[in-house]
């Protein structure tokens, strides 16, 4: 018999476990239990089993109670706090791999590992978002109050002194109208008056860094990669000055420049000239990278796409063309307006383009799809456009600057968010990066306007730091130069480099043939050996050549011919059968 069972306790398995009575494991010297003997015992204990079942159901409940009383102090929200989905979405890069049923095991593990790593990175970045110190600005009117009626003076009075001081006017009536440019970190301001006045200002501290008169027409001004240098497009040539106003270079290869754009990650200065040339100057080595004759006449409307460094040019015939330095033809040409294009702006994600034309329309395009989203009619037409980091659009119409909200999206424009009237014709508008400030250059000088909610509240100090020290600047400059992106990487989709090259064999082969100049896989033509005794006569040679001609294709040809023959045979048989059917008359069916 098995181990002795205490009386009064039914000997079922469950019961024993409940009571935590351990049955000693069976030894080989013990007899095996006879199943017949056990049966009656089991029947007897059926009632007990039922009880057990009830107890079993109760058990988890009991345990819960027990846990609750024991661990009341424990964390009610164990683990890490969940991250909202939209925030995670912000840091998402690319789609997850779609599993193919016969993906190799090795590849599977590699992909899974990389996916977990990128998920972790995404999660960490999203969590870090909580720690960002600043919040974006905003402006809300009272009931029945329109935000566009609130004057700058009221805003400046309502906010703190430092912010209030960001609204100021520079009365420069002699040399206007003014073009302007903010440096990449938003710390420094560059002003260029049409009649030769150039000034750079550290506008946070309102320090004047330099002020010169170049004694020539100034078409455009642009900061280069740091605040130590800036480019000025003058009447004939392009000049580079340092922050003290000393002329460093006069670049005579670039003449009659009207508009300039600086591509900070490529260290390229793109210039558009009155002669229709789009030129690229690499400012790190001082070389002209590309000079493209656009054949579109005078180029005075220019913008860059900050997402992919493609230059957008607006033309008098109402088209907008997209350019990269690697191609002599435009990447894309878009017909946007019925009249000439007056101004252009592209948002920082590279999704939307806003254009205004002589037809007094303001149009918003999705430039990933090259699709027109919506347009609106501005009575005076916009002469200057600018998009802020957070997507506010400023449009200068005559001497009024209007700011629109929610431009980027499918909703059509309604009324402006803010408006400000100036004393002269507006010549240039630009948002200051990382600040709620819109700089306006006009005929009577410069106005700095407060636009709450325009700037990105949190900067990344490794990318653009308004508070950097000179040491930090030097370090940044070295790092930035080291990772200067080569101009040949300017394409419409900058992420293309990270994607799998899915070129077919033919495409790759074609590329190889082009680069090598000959076909490495090509077969040499058969040259028959010279033979004696008249066997190298022209006819004999031809015959010999015929022997090997298309040798590699013969099998295929033979097969295809055979196939064709079979098909034809089949068809013929079918036709025959049909003919026989046709021969029969309706009465034939009664024939025996």
């Amino acid at each position: 018999m098995a181990a002795p069972i205490p009386e009064g306790l039914p000997s079922t398995h469950v019961e024993k476990k409940n009571k935590k009575q351990k049955k000693p494991s069976k030894r080989y010297w013990e007899k095996t239990e006879n199943p017949d003997q056990r049966k009656p015992e089991e029947e007897q204990s059926k009632d007990a089993q039922k009880q057990n079942k009830a107890r079993l159901i109760n058990r988890p409940l009991k345990r819960k109670k027990f846990e609750g009383s024991e661990q009341e102090k424990s964390d009610p929200f164990p683990g890490e706090a969940p991250v909202p989905k939209e925030r995670l979405q912000k840091f998402k890069r690319g789609e997850k791999y779609k599993w193919h049923p016969d993906t190799l095991r090795k590849l599977k593990t590699a992909i899974k590992f990389s996916e977990t790593v990128s998920d972790l990175a995404q999660d960490q970045a999203a969590r870090f978002d909580l720690l960002l110190p600043e919040d974006a600005g905003f402006l809300e009117g009272d009931e029945d109050e329109d935000t566009c009626t609130i004057s700058q003076d009221d805003i400046a009075d309502a906010v703190d002194i430092t912010s209030g001081s960001k609204y100021f006017n520079l009365d420069l009536s002699q040399f206007g109208p003014y073009r302007l440019d903010y440096s990449k970190n938003g710390r420094h301001l560059l002003l260029g008056g049409k009649r030769g006045h150039v000034a750079c200002i550290d506008w946070h501290s309102k320090d004047l860094m330099c002020e010169v008169n170049v004694m020539e027409t100034v078409n455009d001004v642009k900061w280069l990669h740091t605040e130590a240098m800036f480019a000025v497009a003058q009447k004939r040539w392009l000049y580079i000055y340092d922050s003290k106003g000393v002329e460093l270079h006069c670049i005579k290869k670039f003449n009659d420049v009207l508009k300039m754009q600086f591509l900070p990650y490529h260290f390229l200065l793109a210039t558009a000239s009155a002669t229709g040339f789009l030129q690229y100057l690499d400012v790190s080595v001082g070389k002209e990278i590309a000079a493209i004759c656009t054949k579109m006449g005078r180029l005075d409307v220019m913008a860059q796409n900050p997402y992919n460094a493609v230059i957008h040019l607006g033309h008098p015939n109402g088209t907008v063309s997209l350019w990269s330095p690697n191609q002599k033809e435009p990447l894309v040409k878009l017909l946007c307006h019925r009249g000439a294009v007056r101004s252009l702006a592209v948002d920082k994600t590279g999704t939307y383009m806003v254009t205004s034309g002589l037809d007094r329309k303001l149009k918003v395009y999705d430039i990933r799809m090259f699709k027109h989203l919506h347009s609106c009619f501005l009575p005076a037409g916009a002469s200057c456009l600018s998009l802020s980091q957070r997507g506010l659009l400023s449009a200068a119409t005559g001497d009024v600057v209007q700011v629109y909200r929610d431009v980027c999206g499918s909703n059509p424009l309604t009324k402006p968010y803010m408006a400000h009237r100036l004393r002269g014709q507006v010549c240039g508008v630009a948002y200051c990066p990382f600040e709620d400030v819109l700089g306006i250059g006009h005929g009577r000088g410069f106005t700095s306007m407060i636009v709450p909610g325009a700037g990105e509240p949190n900067f990344d100090a490794l990318d653009a730091n308004p508070y950097r020290s000179s040491k930090q600047r030097q370090e940044w400059e070295v790092k930035a130069l080291l990772e200067k992106v080569q101009p040949d990487l300017i394409v419409l989709d900058p992420g293309e480099l990270g994607k799998i090259d899915k070129a077919t064999f033919e495409q790759r082969h074609k590329r190889k043939v082009e680069s090598l100049g000959f076909d490495p896989l090509g077969k040499e033509p058969f040259k028959p050996r010279a033979k004696k005794k008249g066997r190298s006569s022209a006819g004999a040679v031809e015959r010999r050549k015929k022997k090997v001609a298309y040798e590699d294709q013969r099998d295929v040809i033979r097969e295809s011919v055979q196939e064709k023959m079979e098909k034809q045979k089949e068809l013929e048989e079918k036709a025959k059968a049909m003919k026989e059917l046709e021969k029969k008359t309706a009465l034939d069916r009664f024939r025996k």
Partner: protein
Amino acid sequence: MKVKVLCRNPDDYVRETTRDIQRVPRNYDPTLHPFEVPREYTRALNATKLQKVFAKPFVASLDGHRDGISCIVKHPKSLSTVISGACDGEVKVWNLSKRECLRTVQAHEGFVRGMCSRFCGTSFFTVGDDKTIKQWNMEAPGYGVREEPINTILGKTVFTGIDHHYKEGTFATCGQTVDIWDEQRSSPLRSFSWGVDSFNCVRFNPVETELLASCGSDRSIILYDTREAAPLRKVIMKMRNNTLSWNQMEAYYFVCANEDYNLYTYDIRYLDIPVTVHMDHVSAVLDVDYSPTGRELVSASFDKTIRIFGKDAGHSREVYHTKRMQHVICVRWSADNKYIMSGSDEMNIRLWKANASEKLGLLSAREKAAANYNKKLIEKFQYHPQVKRIATYRHLPRELLRQKREQREMKLAQRRKDINIRKHSKPGSIPVVTEKEKHVVAVVE
């Protein structure tokens, strides 16, 4: 009217004192960091170039031997101690960190054929052409005391190799037979032979310690169990193997250096086909050693180069050569996975870095992070043609390059011929033989 305008307090963004470190607030928003991929690619390209710039693998040369180096042995406990034996019977003990010879022993008459150190690091064994096995103390004798072996065993035939058991006081020698010896006895415990006249190399398995493998001159690799009376299994290849080495982490793998210029990794569970064929040498491979991590292996060849292979890579990731280095006879990977020792015909032992561009010495945390980041970048963009071109290019001496081309030509010609033969014979009559299958003749139980 409710209004809020961005207003930053500069004190929150600027360091408090000049002794403080600079504040670097971060924002990881992808829209603030455009050109992610092109910039990363540029970084990867720079990292690859820098890796090339810093690739200075040669560390030191230890000279002092008066004949070619025939074998090198690592000390099992001390990283800096290395013992080398030369073709004139001289054995030298070296201190690697000081790069000097600590001790010189005239151990044998004629070649020192093989050496091994005891697992505890107190003594080492040498075998030589004079048919003796000698056990030496690792410590140098006191001043004025003559250099004498602890133990000398006179054998009947010449021994060509020796290896010590990893845990017990037994060792194995090879010559005309493979003999298992007890340290305390002067005659072998057991002798194995399987119809061959001589063996070149014998190695104990580091994990399954009773298992050992030997290379025979009849082109065979034989596995033995010391507890059994007869050998376990034999693989016969097309050409002779010179040496073999066990993977110390996955001890069911071993790699053998073959006369046909290739190395073959075998799995002892499936001996009929090698797991990997490591090709690249242009002459017979003379010695091979696994790294202590078991992820890589280094081989020495008669073509005067050392090559480093990934564990399962068909081609080498690195090749080391110098103008002065002649036929490399022996090579060892140091126990800290950082250095490679090679002994060559022209009497020098050379010390190489295992990772050519690695910075030696202590690294600061930032240096380490940068190195790791660069490594990952190179790995990520390794298939981009520019990166690949720079990363895989190795300068080779003209003679070597010529041989390499010649052999490629020969291989292509052979392949062409095979294809033609197959084309003009009855379909299916000539099977396709893969490179792995080509070199194994038979497996005998």
